[in-house]
Structures are given as C-alpha cells and as structure tokens.
C-alpha cells in the first residue's frame, strides 16, 4: 500500500479515511454514522450504479413518447394543430426564429441525449475500467450534473403558454402527453446523475483492494 510510489492522486480511501457526503467531515475508515450531522457514511455508495442505470433507463424510456407525441395542442378559431418537440423546432426555424429554435433544440434534444450518453459512459467506465484521465471524467460528471436542469426550459415554456393562452374558442394551448413524459424524463435523468457516486471514478485508477 505504498502511497507515494504510485502515480495518481491520493484518495481518501487509500488514506483510510471516509468523508461524509453531506457535511464534508472526514472520519476514520469504517465509521458508519457522521459524528457531525448524523447522516450515514459509506466509503462507496452501495448499489449506486444500479440506481444510475435504473433512473437512466426510465428517463430514456420516457424520452421516446416525449418525442413522438405532441408537446403543444394549439387550437385557434380556424385551426387546430399539434406540435411535437422536433416539429416545434422546425416550425420556429421556418419562421426565421433561428435563435429560439436553437435554444429549444439544445435544451430539448441535445442536452437530454447528451446526458444519456454521458451518464452511460461514466457508468460503463466505472464497471469496465477505461484508461482515461479521471480528471476529465470527473469534469464530465460535473457538467452533466449541472446542465441537466436546463432541459426543463421546454417544460416551463409549455406550462406558461398553456396557463396563459386560454382564450376559449379564440385560441387555446394545452400541454400534450409529451410534455409530461419529457418532464419526467428530465427529472429521471437528473436523479440518475445524482445517484452516480463520483468517487468511483477515481477507483478505476487504482484497483480496489
């Protein structure tokens, strides 16, 4: 167990320490309960990966109807139309609102899909050690965790529109099935990202004892 002789940063586990994830207090290894905040302490979250995968699958499953079914049900005096996420983006682009189209596209399509990929990659990299720099993977995790909430933009837009535009026969906007499933999908992927125990990234640098 030479510490200095091996490349890579020193981990708490290697130092025989364990930190509380809530309040950050460091305990000697083997401690079960945080002395400061009373929360459970474990050197590695048990079943962390399982939860990650479960939430991730749930999010991915719900992302399918979110794209197939209409997000917005717009009915006006003369017409009635349903628009999906991609359809809305295309419509916006057709009307020349490239900026808005880009924002919606990034928030509703690129970010969720990017998160799926990122989380899958991180989870796989923990299970099957990949020789890649742990710092990069940790940075990837942090970005994923941070950016996930921005996907909710589309849901907020739908929620605001459907509550504001209720002019009976003249114009009405209602949320479709896709709005619910998309919101759930985003929520599940955020839970998935949070379930991921980022400390396991560092374990792959040094095989566990």
């Amino acid at each position: 167990m030479e510490i200095a002789g091996k490349p890579g940063p020193l981990t708490a586990r290697a130092a025989g320490l364990v930190a509380c994830r809530r309040c950050g207090r460091v305990h000697p290894g083997g401690a079960q309960i945080c002395q400061r905040c009373g929360g459970p302490i474990s050197s590695r979250e048990i079943k962390s990966l399982q939860r990650v995968w479960a939430w991730l699958f749930a999010g991915m499953i719900l992302y399918i109807p979110a794209n197939i079914y209409p997000m917005l049900l717009t009915s006006t005096l003369v017409s009635k139309r349903e628009s999906t996420i991609i359809g809305g983006v295309i419509d916006l682009a057709h009307h020349g609102s490239y900026g808005v189209a880009l924002i919606v596209f990034v928030a509703s399509v690129m970010i969720p899909i990017g998160k799926f990929i990122a989380i899958s990659y991180l989870a796989l990299s923990v299970q099957w050690p990949i020789r890649q720099h742990s710092h990069l993977r940790h940075r990837l995790y942090e970005v994923t965790d941070f950016i996930g909430r921005w996907s909710m933009i589309d849901v907020f837009v739908v929620a605001i529109l459907s509550s504001l535009v209720q002019l009976d026969t003249v114009a009405t906007i209602n949320p479709g099935i896709a709005a619910v499933s998309f919101a759930l999908s985003v929520a599940f992927t955020m839970l998935s990202a949070q379930s991921f125990d980022s400390r396991t990234i560092w374990d792959s640098d040094r095989p566990a004892e």
């Binding site: 079914y69 003369v78 139309r81």
Partner: protein, 696 residues
C-alpha cells in the same frame, strides 16, 4: 508432507441473492416502460382507419387539418392529399374514427363543403373561417365496409336514410330547371330536383327529383306536375293574370304538383311523371291521358238542333265543373213515325273521379247513380262557352220541371243520356253577331243628344238673368241690411221705452194717490183701475208667446225675417201698451182722483159727518176690493219679469251687441223697473191698505 498445513479456507460472506442486490429504483423504469407501452397501445387502438376518397379536385383540402364530418360532427381528418396513378384524380387519404368505419359501405357519399351563395340562400358559411371540410353521409345500416370511395363534386340532394321518395320527371326541355330547384305543393317546398340531363333518346329531359317525407304520400299515380318557372302573363276574359311562384323558382325554376283527382295508386321509388307546361295543361292532361281511360264512363247524347260550334274535345260540365269531354260527333239517321230524320249523336267521356266517385265505386255503380240523377231531372244540353268564338259545350243540368226520362242503356255504342232544349238565345252568337249588335246601337244619336244637352247647359249658363242672379241676391241682402239699420226699426225700442215711461208715470201717480184724500167713489175708480191693470196683465202672456215665437223664428229664419218678427213683436208690445185700456188708465185714475178731490171738497163744504159712517163702510168694502186688486199685482209683476227674462234670452241668442239689442235690453229693464214699482205699490197696499184711504 504431513506438516503441510492445509490452507485455511477462505471464508467469505455468502453473496447476497440477485434480487437482494437489486435496487428498488429499478421499479421506476419498469413502470415507465409499462405506462409508455400502455399509452402507445391505447393510442394505436383508438386510431381511426384510413380510407381513400377520390375527388376531381381538392380545392381547399389541407392534409392534417381538413376534417371529415358526418352530421356536422367531426369523425376524421385528412392525412394525405395525393394523386391517383395517372394524376387524373386527387386521392385524399383520411383517417376515420373506428366506430363509424363499419357504416362506410357502398352508400356512403363524400363531398367537399364550400361556401355557396344561391337564390335559395347561403350555405356552408362556416367554412369561410374554418376552411372547407369534407362532409360524409351514409345510412345507419352496417354493411361491408369499403376502404376507397369516389367523392362527389356536388352535395347530393338526397342524403342516405332521408325519408322520402325519389321520382323521375320527364320534361320537354330543361332550360328553366336547375339542380336544387324546389318542388312545391300548394306553395310549400316539399322536395327538389337534381341536375336535369338529356333522356337517352335525346328527345327530352329527365330530372331526378326527391319528395321529402311525409309529403311523398300526397303523390299518387293521378298526380300531375307542372312547371312554375319564371312567370307568365295571360290576358283573358278575367283580365290580366300574372303568375309567379317564388323568387327562387323565378331564377332556378320550380315544379309544382297537385293531385287533381282522387283515386290514384300509391307511387313507388323512381316512378315517372311528366312535367307539363303550366297548371292548365296539367289539368287538361287528366282528360287526354290514356292511362286514366279504363275508369272513364262513356255516354251518348242525341241532339236535335244544330250543334255547330261543338267539337270533339269540348268540355262536359256539371254545375260548372269540367267532368269530361266530348269524344266524338256522329250523325245518325233515325226513323220516327215513318219519317227519316238525321240526329246528331254526341259521345261523351266522363271521368267519374271528377264527380268525386273515386275508386270506391265501380263503373256500374256510377251508372246506377247517374240513372238515379236522370230520374230526378238530370239532362244534357248545349251551352255556349264563349260568345266570341261561338264554341259550345255540353252541360249536365238538373231541371226542376222535366218530363220523365231514363238513360237508354240498350243504345249503341254507348248508353244515351236524355237531352233537353238548349237555352241558347242565339246559336249563331258569333263574334260577328256581337259586333253587328254593337254596330246597331244608336251611338250617333246618343252622341248628338249629349251634344245638344251640353249646348243647352251652356246656354243656360250664359243666360243674362242667371248671371244677374247673384247681383240680385246681393241687392236683397243690402236691403235687408238697410232695413235692420233703418231709423224706424231702431226707433222701435225708443217707442217701447216711451210706453214704459208712460207706465211708470201711471204708477207714480198711483203712488201719489195715497197722499191724497180718499173717498168712496175714488175707491171704486181705483178698483176699476186695478181691474184694468189686471186685464192688461192678462194680455202679457200673449206677448210672451209672441216673443217666444220670435225666438223660434230667429233661430230658424233669415235675419230679415227675424227683424220683421222682432219688429212685429215690438209693435205688438207697443200696441199693447198703447191699448185703450192702458192709455185710459191714467185719465181714469186722474178722473177718479179728481172726483175724490171734489168729493172731499164737498165733504168739507157740506160737513156731512153723518155720511161718514156709511162712507166708512163703503171704504171698508173698497179697501177689500183694493186688496183683491193688489193681490193680483205680484202676479202681474211676476209675468213682466218673465217677459223680460225671455226677451233677454231671445236677445242673447240674437247675439250681437248692437244698438238695437242694447236698447231692447234697456226697454225690458224699464219694464222690469215698472214691474218693481207696481210690486212696491202692491206691497205698500198690502201692508197698509188704509193708507190709500187716509193718506198716511
């Protein structure tokens, strides 16, 4: 090898079972998957089925939004608009709700609803805003569902399942008929026609028409249709008739029908009818129509005289209603009493239905009824239908006086109806005859008489005397005015006043009389004076009468006469006042007073006191007489007052405040004051009758 210690077995905690290692969170994706699949299945299973409808064009149809409607309820949406393989038609692919799919069998019709403006109104206005939609129509029977349909360019007139009857109308030409034109019955729209098309033979027009239920029950095989398109003007004996049905039928044409006779058969779907030119032609057709022939009743009539003007086709009328027509005219040679003579046999075709018999009665039954009628005086005779043309008709009349006759049932070819003498004054009442008679009218004499009458009138009007009449009238009026304004007339009230003045003087003297010494013979004179006054008073009602009469005359007569009457009345008053009695009253009183004075003088001279007692007794009696006379004085004054009141009323009705009036009023007021004076005297006498005797 024994010292080799066996390797210590590695004891590891049992690996937890797979399900124990499984996180609860896995339930979430399972649930999500289940829900997603459920939603997907739900959605798929409720998705409608695709059907294809082909149209010649698809104006306004938009994929994804154009709705398919049935009874105005959206049952589907157009999903795709494409073309048939050879680009000849537009294929519209629509997704139709699953629950109506089974009804889409071969009777389903689809058409594009667009806004339409026609004479009958505006339809499809809602599509202006919402865009066109495709309307579907099908009945409520499930059939073998089809997946492809041919759409119609025009909305079908008849919706499947609509109650009613489809009929086929044949017309000579269709230039007055347009699709959708109404079919009217008694002015009410009960159906409509479809687009007229040429009959297969090309010699006419065939129009499909639909009569809505329950009006289709009104149509029987005896129904006739006629064209009411446009308008017609007919000039006839009844004046000018303008026939126009409705604005819609003016523009789009229209067909009317009526069941003119009873006893038709119920119609079937697709029954064929003809459209006649007009209602008259339709009614005529009932008698020309071969189809109605079997019911006809054939009769013959033998006429003795000329039947010039009677032609086949002439009407047979009963009580003015056309019940049949003359079918034939045959000359027949008859042998009567050994002499041969020619009679004319007229064959009649009578429609029993026009007599109201209908189907209920067989031909034999109708004949029996007719026999019964003939027994009660029904006869056939000729009648003129038109003076201008001299055309004749056969009329069935019911005579009140008749010789008994029967229908000769044995005659050939038809039973012979007994005839009677025609009531035609002039069989040759042709137009020529009429004009001849008009020519024969003494028009010229009439005109010359009229002219001479006019001349006489003119002469009369120009006559000098007649023209002077107004002038004479004016002069007359002037004279009348002069009479009223003349000094004589106006002096009348003055004279009356003078007379009243006299009267007043008399009463004054009477009053003075009480200051004088009184004696017996004076009392007698006073009594006689009172009697005179009484007589005068008795005359006053006459004045009243006259004044009243004057008032009546004033009301009814001219001014002139009024003035005359007034003058006469006043003259009467004057005469009354100037009567001998009244005029002699003052001298008599004076004389009486002189005598009293003389008597007193004698008394003074003679000093005959012894006579005083007897004188007092006489005075007593005289006082009684005076009292009696005085009792009549109030009545006199009463009457005078009435006279004045009535005279005032008269003058009030006379109205004008002329001088004459004022003076007359003053006169009567004088009369009134005279009456008052008399009343005062009477009261004085009543109160103290002795004062007249003793001067106190």
């Amino acid at each position: 090898m024994n010292d080799v210690t066996p390797p210590e077995p590695e004891i590891r905690p049992a690996r937890p079972a797979f399900w124990q290692r499984l996180s609860v969170v896995w339930l979430v994706p399972v649930l999500a998957l289940a829900i997603s699949l459920g939603v997907a299945w739900q959605n798929y299973s409720h998705r409608g089925r695709l059907v294809e409808i082909s149209f010649a064009n698809a104006t306004g149809v938009v994929a994804g939004s154009t709705a398919i409607k049935f009874r105005d309820v959206t049952v589907g949406t157009v999903e795709k608009v494409g073309f048939s393989g050879d680009l000849s038609r537009v294929i519209i692919t629509a997704r139709i709700d699953r629950d109506v799919i089974p009804f889409l069998d071969e009777d389903a019709r689809f058409w594009v609803v667009r806004p339409q403006v026609s004479v009958r109104g505006i339809s499809g206005l809602d599509t202006v805003l919402s865009g066109v939609f495709i309307e579907g129509s099908w009945n409520s029977q499930r059939g073998t569902a089809r997946r492809s349909f041919t759409g119609q360019d025009e909305p079908p007139l008849v919706r499947p399942g609509q109650p009613g009857t489809q009929i086929e109308l044949h017309a000579r030409d269709g230039n007055k008929l347009a699709a959708g034109a109404p079919i009217l019955h008694k002015g009410v729209k009960v159906g409509y026609i479809e687009e007229p098309r040429l009959s297969p033979s090309g010699d006419g027009v065939v129009v499909q028409a639909f009569i809505e239920g329950p009006h289709d029950r009104r149509i029987t095989s005896a129904t006739r249709f006629w064209d009411t398109s446009g308008f017609s003007v007919s000039l006839g004996t009844a004046g000018v008739t303008l026939n126009m049905s409705s604005l819609a039928s003016l523009v789009e044409g229209g067909v009317s029908f009526d069941t003119l006779i009873s006893g038709g058969d119920p119609i079937t779907q697709g029954q064929v009818f003809d459209i006649y030119e007009d209602e008259a032609a339709a009614r005529e057709s009932l008698f020309n129509d071969a189809t109605a022939a079997p019911d006809d009743l054939h009769l013959s009539v033998l006429f003795d005289g000329s039947v010039s003007g009677l032609t086949p086709g002439a009407d047979v009328r009963f009580r003015g209603v056309r019940i049949g027509e003359v079918s034939d005219l045959i000359a027949q040679v008859e042998e009567v009493d050994g002499r041969r003579r020619i009679r004319l046999l007229v064959n009649l075709t009578i429609k029993p239905s026009r007599l109201g018999f209908g189907d209920d009665l067989s031909a034999e039954g109708v004949m029996t009824l007719l026999q019964d009628y003939v027994a009660r005086g029904l006869r056939a005779r000729l009648a003129t239908s038109s003076i201008l043309t001299g055309a004749l008709i056969v009329e069935l009349v019911e005579l009140t006086e008749y010789t008994p006759a029967t229908i000769d049932m044995e005659a050939k070819p038809y039973p012979v109806l007994p005839a009677t003498e025609a009531e035609l004054s002039d069989f040759d009442a042709t137009a020529e005859g009429v004009f001849e008679r008009i020519n024969a009218l003494p028009v010229e004499e009439l005109l010359s008489s009229a002219i001479s009458l006019m001349d006489s009138l003119e002469r009369l009007a120009n006559d000098q005397a007649l023209q002077e009449t107004p002038r004479t009238m004016n002069a007359l009026l002037d004279e009348a005015r002069a009479l009223i304004g003349s000094a004589d007339t106006q002096a009348v009230p003055g004279e009356v006043r003078a007379a009243i003045g006299d009267l007043r003087k008399i009463t004054d003297e009477l009053e003075q009389a009480r200051t004088v010494a009184k004696l017996n013979d004076a009392i007698d004179s006073a009594a006689s004076a009172a009697a005179n006054i009484d007589t005068a008073a008795a005359d006053l009602p006459e004045i009243t009468e006259q004044v009243k009469a004057l008032g009546d005359k004033a009301n009814s007569l001219a001014v002139e006469e009024l003035v005359d009457a007034a003058t006469r009345a006043l003259a009467s008053i004057d005469a009354l006042i100037g009567t001998e009695d009244a005029r002699q009253l003052p001298p008599a009183l004076t004389g009486a007073l002189n005598q009293v004075r003389g008597f007193l003088a004698e008394l003074r001279e003679g000093g005959a006191i012894g006579n005083v007692n007897s004188a007092l007794a006489s005075a007593e009696a005289a006082a009684d007489a005076v009292e009696n006379a005085a009792a009549s004085l109030p009545a006199l004054s009463e009457r005078l007052s009435r006279v004045v009141a009535e005279a005032e009323a008269l003058l009030g009705s006379y109205g004008e405040r002329s001088r004459f009036n004022a003076e007359t009023l003053a006169t009567f007021r004088d009369i009134q004051s005279a009456a008052n004076a008399i009343r005062t005297l009477a009261r004085t006498l009543e109160r103290d009758p002795n004062s007249i005797l003793f001067g106190k």
